[in-house]
């Protein structure tokens, strides 16, 4: 039940932002990125009380609404209704469909598995249930976990086998996409497509939302060019460079074998908000220390030595 500032124009209704992303929901982020890549100006509105809905995200303008559970998803519906189509002329390309299948089935499955099963839903709590009371959250969490397992075909008997299959497919998909992408800016020449939106969303979610212990995250970080690709596009699509609220992706360790090493990179492209805050606080602290010393000295100087004796504190 969030109020919007503007009733006219385009509005995308998604789940709430978190983890430094404009929306932390893996179903909503592709639509957001797609509209940004298409450079369509739009407002963002949030629904934080319906975590188990398949209608989100939805796009609205006037009395037109494109729900995510119609016509193959909100992006497909926007293409079909002629609102915004980044994939015109790409359908004829043979690789389009195969890449689409890789991203929308294997990678999507892997992400769903990792979110609800692999990491036991650790991130899901913040994404879906931050604004719901604990009682409701608990029930819906179990419901959504169960539904995810059903959708992925996971049973007690085949759990391990299915896990290996999912991770193997994800690895293969990363490999193929990494090879396909190289150092290009987009998957298809120099033009953005809906596949870039889906793929970028997948990478951002995997790196920024999933915990560092996530197997899928570690597999993704092995491919440096994918991380660089996401880093570049993220700057364009998500936040203006000066007000970025999340650390650049390449500052994360590029290999999971370097778990214990320092995460700071020598070449920072921009200062993060956390660092700015830290510096400000440090300045205040130093100023306070200095002031305390000055006051102490002035008080001590004004008091006679006979009346007061203080122990020196370190």
């Amino acid at each position: 039940m969030e109020g919007d500032q503007d009733t006219s124009g385009f509005t995308l209704v998604t789940r709430k932002p978190c983890f430094g992303l404009p929306t932390a929901c893996p179903n909503c982020l592709p639509a957001y990125i797609y509209l940004k890549l298409a450079q369509l100006p739009f407002q963002l509105a949030f629904n934080s009380t319906f975590p188990d809905s398949d209608e989100l995200p939805y796009f609205e303008t006037g009395t037109y609404v494109a729900y995510n559970n119609e016509d193959g998803g909100v992006i497909e519906k926007l293409k079909k209704d002629g609102v915004v189509n980044l994939d015109s002329q790409l359908h004829s390309q043979p690789e389009y469909l195969s890449l689409k299948a890789l991203i929308l089935s294997w990678l999507e499955e892997a992400l769903a598995y990792e979110t609800w099963v692999g990491t036991e839903g650790v991130s899901a709590w913040k994404i879906y249930y931050a604004d719901l009371p604990w009682v409701i959250s608990k029930v819906l969490f179990y419901k959504q976990t169960y539904m995810a397992k059903t959708r992925l075909g996971i049973t007690k008997e085949n759990a391990e086998q299915r896990e290996q299959q999912i991770y193997k497919r994800a690895s293969d998909a990363y490999e193929a996409l990494s090879t396909r992408l190289g150092e290009q800016k987009f998957l298809f020449e120099d033009r953005p497509s809906s596949l870039d939106a889906f793929f970028l969303s997948h990478i951002l979610f995997t790196i920024q939302v999933l915990p560092e212990t996530s197997v899928l995250r570690c597999k993704l970080l092995e491919h440096g060019n994918l991380v660089r690709y996401a880093d570049k596009l993220k700057l364009e699509c998500l936040e203006a460079p000066s007000s970025s609220s999340s650390p650049p992706l390449h500052s994360f360790p590029s290999s999971f074998s370097r778990k214990g090493s320092k995460p700071k990179s020598k070449q920072k492209v921009e200062k993060t908000e956390e660092e700015k805050k830290f510096k400000k606080r440090a300045k205040y602290f130093l100023a306070a220390q200095f002031l305390a010393v000055v006051i102490y000295l002035s008080v001590m100087g004004g008091v006679s030595n006979d009346e007061l004796e203080y122990e020196d504190d370190d």
């Binding site: 039940m1 109020g3 919007d4 209704v13 934080s48 037109y64 609404v65 604990w134």
Partner: protein
């Protein structure tokens, strides 16, 4: 569940249901020999003792007439020595004694008879006895002018009762047909457990388990509790369906004061995916934890067709009473004032009424947050405002939810609407609403109509709603409405139509 808290009017109870039996020596110090007995006529099977011989019966009749004569002249002083309860195997003594307690305060025979009548009604209202008989017996011989009150009850042979009734529940907000299974007096405290299934006229439904206690911790405050799962369908009017799973508790503190608490998980969905923007923003889950206080005074001579008296109802609700700040936070206040003035001919009366209400959210960001559509006010429907005590909701001349702020629904290119009844707008309700009416009701000159309770009425009503951010059937009225003014999208109806008048519980 029909509210057992509605006790039958003791004045309507036949005085024959109280039996008076006195031994001669104890009244007036034993000066006169009196053995007065008049038969009580129970509604159910008679449990009275066998009638005595014909001569004794004649003597009793004479003595009874004497006693009546004495009672007519002056108060007959008497004191209640003891209350004896008989016939209860399962029911606890204190439950019965609590209902009969009023007799202890009687100082005269007249008062005692009246108190005994009231006690009889109270016990019948518990709905756990097949028959109740109160007998006034002579007190101990050493204490003159005293009497023992003997309460003889016959507990229900079969504690299980099934019934099909029409009723209204606050959660359902509409009339409904309900089937229920009741299990009475399991623990002997007058407790009534019921399982019910209700289906409403507006496609709403409810399944529930309830408990009714006539007294709470010894206080004369009936207590009800209910666990329910309900669905209310507003798709046709506002494009959403409301589901709730919750528990509600209610205490009738006194005749005028009622306190209730509800904890419910509420879910608003739009299965048609055709909702307007305002309703789309409302879709989702919420936890409701709210306290409701009602103050009600109803001095009208009839709830269905008042011709004299006034009524005042004020209902205050506060939601969000939970340690979790994410529960639904709102404040809601309603009031309703009615006044009836008799005009003296053809049982006619002038009825006036004003009702209003306001709701708004509280908590951080309350100014920008929209109120929950479930807590808003909607006007219109087939309920007569003369009878409804539910705050601003009833208004002649407009269809259910047919008035007030509205928004266009989603536009789709394919034709999948259901034809005739398809509306293109959602009525989203108002945060503040006010209605007023003036009604002149009268009997028709023909006796045929009077005998059947058919009366006529001429009325004028007005209502308005703004954003800051129905229900019972019994009587049948035919109305002719001429709309004086309406806004562009209000769904009004002029002409002849039927409304149903029914008192609010």
């Amino acid at each position: 569940m029909a509210n057992p808290a509605d006790k039958p009017d003791p004045n309507l109870t036949s005085p024959d249901e109280v039996e008076l039996r006195e031994d001669p020596e104890d009244i007036n110090g034993g000066e006169e020999e009196e053995e007065d007995e008049y038969e009580g006529e129970d509604d159910d099977e008679a449990t009275a003792s066998k009638p005595q011989s014909r001569e004794d019966a004649a003597a009793s009749r004479v003595n009874a007439q004497n006693l009546f004569r004495r009672m007519g002249v002056a108060p007959v002083p008497v004191r209640v020595h003891d209350v004896i309860v008989k016939g209860n195997e399962k029911t606890k003594d204190h439950v019965i004694e609590a209902e009969v307690d009023g007799v202890r305060h009687a100082t005269t025979l007249q008062e005692l008879l009246e108190a005994a009548n009231v006690a009889n009604s109270n016990l019948r209202a518990l709905d756990i006895f097949d028959s109740v008989k109160i007998t006034l017996d002579a007190g101990p011989p050493e204490l003159p002018d005293t009497t023992n009150v003997v309460v003889k009850v016959v507990e229900s042979q079969s504690p299980l009762a099934a019934e099909i009734i029409t009723s209204t529940k606050s959660q359902a907000r509409s009339s409904s047909l309900e089937g229920s299974l009741k299990y009475k007096n399991i623990f002997g405290h007058g407790d009534i457990w019921d399982t019910s299934l209700a289906y409403g006229c507006d496609s709403s439904g409810e399944v529930g388990l309830g408990l009714y206690l006539p007294r709470l911790r010894g206080r004369p405050s009936p207590f009800t509790s209910r666990v329910y799962l309900s669905t209310q369908d507003w798709i046709k009017f506002s494009s959403y369906r409301e589901r709730a799973l919750g528990v509600s508790l209610g205490v009738l503190l006194s005749k005028n004061h009622e306190l209730g608490y509800t904890l419910a998980w509420r879910n608003l969905i739009d299965p048609t995916q055709m909702a307007s923007r305002a309703i789309r923003r409302q879709i989702g889950h919420s936890l409701v934890s709210d306290l409701k206080y009602s103050f009600k005074v109803d001095e009208r001579n009839s709830a269905l067709r008042p011709t004299r008296g006034y009524s005042f109802v004020s209902t205050s609700q506060i939601g969000g009473l939970a340690p979790d700040s994410r529960t639904l936070r709102f404040l809601r206040q309603e009031f309703d004032v009615k006044y009836a003035v008799p005009l003296g001919f053809y049982r006619s009366a002038l009825n006036f009424g004003v009702s209003g209400g306001i709701t708004f959210p509280w908590g951080s960001g309350y100014k920008s947050r929209a109120s929950s559509v479930s807590e808003r006010f909607f006007l219109g429907g087939n309920i007569s405002p003369v009878c409804s005590l539910e705050g601003p909701s009833a208004l002649w001349g407009f269809k259910t939810r047919g008035l007030g702020p509205n928004e266009p629904r989603r536009e789709v290119e394919d034709e999948n609407q259901s034809g005739g009844d398809a509306y293109e707008r959602d009525f989203v309700g108002g945060d503040v609403a006010v209605t007023a009416y003036a009604d002149l009701s009268f009997d028709f000159p023909l006796r045929w109509f009077r005998e059947r309770g058919i009366h006529g009425h001429v009325f004028a009503c007005a209502g308005n709603m703004a954003e800051l951010s129905g229900n019972k059937y019994r009587n049948f009225t035919l109305n002719y409405c001429h709309i004086l003014k309406k806004q562009e999208h209000d769904r009004a109806k002029s002409g002849f139509f039927l409304t149903f008048s029914t008192p609010s519980s």
